[in-house]
């Protein structure tokens, strides 16, 4: 099956810093999503991005499907950005496969 790897596994930033999170996948995928899991466990949709680039405020994402990776950029990080970031790819028709996540802590 498709393998999804995320890096780095852990990241500590000072407030205001920028960061790049990476998601590599081992095969062609139909869809790709980025999620933020907040400290209460809620998974929040950030981007649906099977290819191309999207931006939403301080966050942006790029997926290069032909090279099997996606990047999530966080600019001017805030303490509320802390949590775990997951990418998930749709392998087949119904089954999403999640990466192991990047745990981000932003210090005030």
């Amino acid at each position: 099956g498709i393998q999804v790897e995320q890096s780095p596994p852990d990241l500590i930033l000072q407030e205001g810093a920028n960061s790049t999170l990476r998601c590599n996948f081992s095969d062609s995928v139909n869809n790709l999503q980025w999620f933020h899991q907040n400290p209460w466990g809620q998974l929040i949709n950030l981007f649906y991005i099977p290819s191309g680039t999207k931006q939403n405020g301080r966050l942006s994402a790029t997926t290069v499907a032909t090279e099997r990776y996606s990047l999530l950029y966080i600019s001017s990080s805030q303490t509320t950005d802390s949590g775990v970031y997951f990418c998930a790819v749709l392998g087949g028709t119904y089954k999403y496969i999640f990466g192991t996540g990047t745990r981000l802590k932003v210090l005030a």
Partner: protein
């Protein structure tokens, strides 16, 4: 707009007791429905998915089962809980066609003692 509900939010159950977690979706018809489990500090593991009433696919052999008695209702059950069933259980839905973007409920935190 679509919303997804899960209950209860937290649950503490003794080993060997039964389990029933419920998930309902509002504002959409014939969604794909999913149950995931997340162990502490780990990623999400897909347990079951359903593409229609009474249609359940199991991803991981275990003592859990799922049912979909109505179009927008998804239930996770166990007859006898194990300590290893502790975790955070998340329900999700997606459209049956189109982008199939997934949306998650607030989750149920289960502790088996």
């Amino acid at each position: 707009s679509q919303t997804i509900h899960q209950w209860p939010a937290t649950l503490v159950q003794p080993v060997g007791s039964p389990l029933s977690l419920e998930c309902t979706v509002e504002g959409t018809s014939n969604p794909n429905l999913y149950w995931y489990r997340q162990a502490a500090g780990r990623g999400l593991q897909l347990l079951f998915y359903s593409v229609g009433i009474g249609q359940i696919s199991s991803e991981v052999p275990q003592n859990l089962s799922a049912s979909r008695p109505q179009d927008r209702q998804f239930i996770l059950s166990s007859k006898k809980l194990l300590l290893s069933d502790s975790g955070f259980y998340l329900c999700a839905w997606s459209e049956i066609a189109g982008s199939r973007e997934q949306y998650f409920g607030p989750g149920t935190r289960l502790t088996v003692t």
